[in-house]
């Protein structure tokens, strides 16, 4: 990833921060407090190996398997572990189900807690002040910004994950996908639908 990759951000850090980080990294390696191979492993794991495809597999499995869905909603941690996903920031999982009457969305107003084993690391907007401040006080307005326009009858439930419980939204399965395979269903499930800011669609 390069510095000038076209992303807009209001507070572009000066290059002196790059130097500050490089200096710290070499100091920690010199002092044998950091093994460079461990550093590479951590970055590779969370950049390339652990991400929202894991969560999508969990969702698709829940859509196609009634017993699994029940287990997932009753006690998500072992149910997610059954699919092979576990570890840091997913030690205590709760899965909340969207229905025609209830829509769930997840935020962490105090920092940026996020269920890493199923969703990977959070996108920048999830960590930014505007999402963290507004998700709890004006969730419908936030959802509308994401193109999710809910009927006033739908109850909006916001989960502010302040302790060590991490939340995964089980989105509603779109109509017309009853004959899809689990893999086809998983391909429809995006990260944002499992944070709960959007709904799964066929497009």
């Amino acid at each position: 990833m390069t510095e000038d990759n076209g992303h807009k951000h209001h507070h572009a850090p000066p290059s002196e921060i790059e130097e500050r980080v490089k200096k710290l990294e070499s100091l920690l390696v010199d002092k044998k407090l950091v093994d460079p191979l461990s550093l590479d492993l951590l970055i590779d794991t969370y950049q390339n190996r652990v991400g929202p495809r894991n969560g999508a597999a969990v969702v698709a499995h829940a859509w196609t398997n009634v017993d699994y869905r029940k287990r997932l909603l009753q006690d998500a941690t072992p149910a997610i572990m059954e699919m092979g996903y576990a570890g840091r920031q997913g030690e205590h999982m709760v899965c909340v189900e969207n229905t025609p009457e209830i829509h769930n969305m997840v935020v962490c107003t105090l920092c940026s807690c996020y269920p890493w084993p199923v969703l990977g690391l959070p996108p920048t907007w999830y960590k930014a002040s505007s999402y963290r401040s507004r998700a709890v006080s004006e969730p419908r307005a936030v959802l509308k910004e994401f193109g999710t326009d809910l009927n006033p009858d739908v109850e909006v439930r916001v989960w502010d994950s302040t302790a060590e419980i991490r939340y995964l939204v089980l989105p509603m399965q779109p109509a017309g996908t009853e004959n899809y395979t689990e893999e086809q269903l998983a391909s429809l499930v995006t990260r944002d639908t499992m944070i709960g800011v959007t709904q799964v669609t066929l497009n």
Binding site: E3, K32, E91, V94, V136, S137, E145, S161
Partner: protein
């Protein structure tokens, strides 16, 4: 503490920039992420202490800097406070002392990534509150680490789930001791938090430790 990190319900931050879909914007952010995790695995501080270090960023700087700058600030603070590096070493970048600690190797890192660090502890006490009970969040303004967001202080809610006992974050950040406290998921109606400014038909669920709550 109720620093700049305590953002729930604050106004003025504008629309959400949905173009920011990446995990890292710059390469140095990946390094800060990796350094923070691998240094954290040496056991010199815990997760709550690392959160408290980030929260102690100057509030003006916190709001005007990016997420991984908070992490960098927190990491530097913890490294110096725990004596893993000296402030001279931090400013010069040159190692001038030795440490008995040794870096977490890839095998250890791999194990920790996939085993995590569960915070649930055996229940030694009975839960004070029960399912569907009405509770209120206590007032208070601690200068130390806490996981009560300001926007629910003094607000009434209903216990919606019992999570068992977990490491009490406030104490964990202060002494490092793993003190068990009951953890509850509490449901707050939007209008109980935001009054007439609440959006209709909305509620917020927050996981709160027993010492934060009182019965009503």
């Amino acid at each position: 503490m109720n620093g700049a990190h305590d953002l729930g319900g604050k106004h003025g931050f504008g629309p959400i920039d949905q173009s920011q879909t990446e995990n890292f914007i710059h390469q140095w952010e990946e390094t800060v992420f990796g350094l923070t995790l691998t240094c954290g695995m040496l056991g010199q501080w815990n997760l709550d202490q690392s959160r408290f270090a980030r929260e102690r960023t100057d509030p003006v700087h916190y709001l005007s800097s990016t997420y991984y700058e908070h992490w960098l600030h927190g990491l530097e603070l913890l490294l110096v406070e725990t004596g893993m590096i000296s402030s001279d070493e931090l400013s010069s970048g040159i190692a001038s002392s030795k440490t008995k600690l040794s870096a977490a190797n890839p095998e250890i890192v791999q194990t920790i990534i996939y085993s995590g660090a569960p915070t649930q502890l055996p229940e030694r006490t009975t839960n004070r509150f029960s399912l569907n009970q009405a509770v209120k969040v206590k007032s208070g303004n601690p200068k130390t680490h806490t996981r009560v967001p300001s926007y629910v202080k003094g607000v009434a809610g209903t216990i919606s789930k019992l999570h068992g006992t977990h490491i009490y974050a406030d104490e964990h950040a202060m002494s490092g001791n793993k003190v068990p406290e009951h953890l509850y998921c509490v449901r707050f109606e939007g209008e109980d938090i935001w009054g007439r400014d609440a959006e209709p038909n909305s509620c917020v669920f927050i996981d709160l430790f027993e010492p934060y709550l009182t019965s009503i």
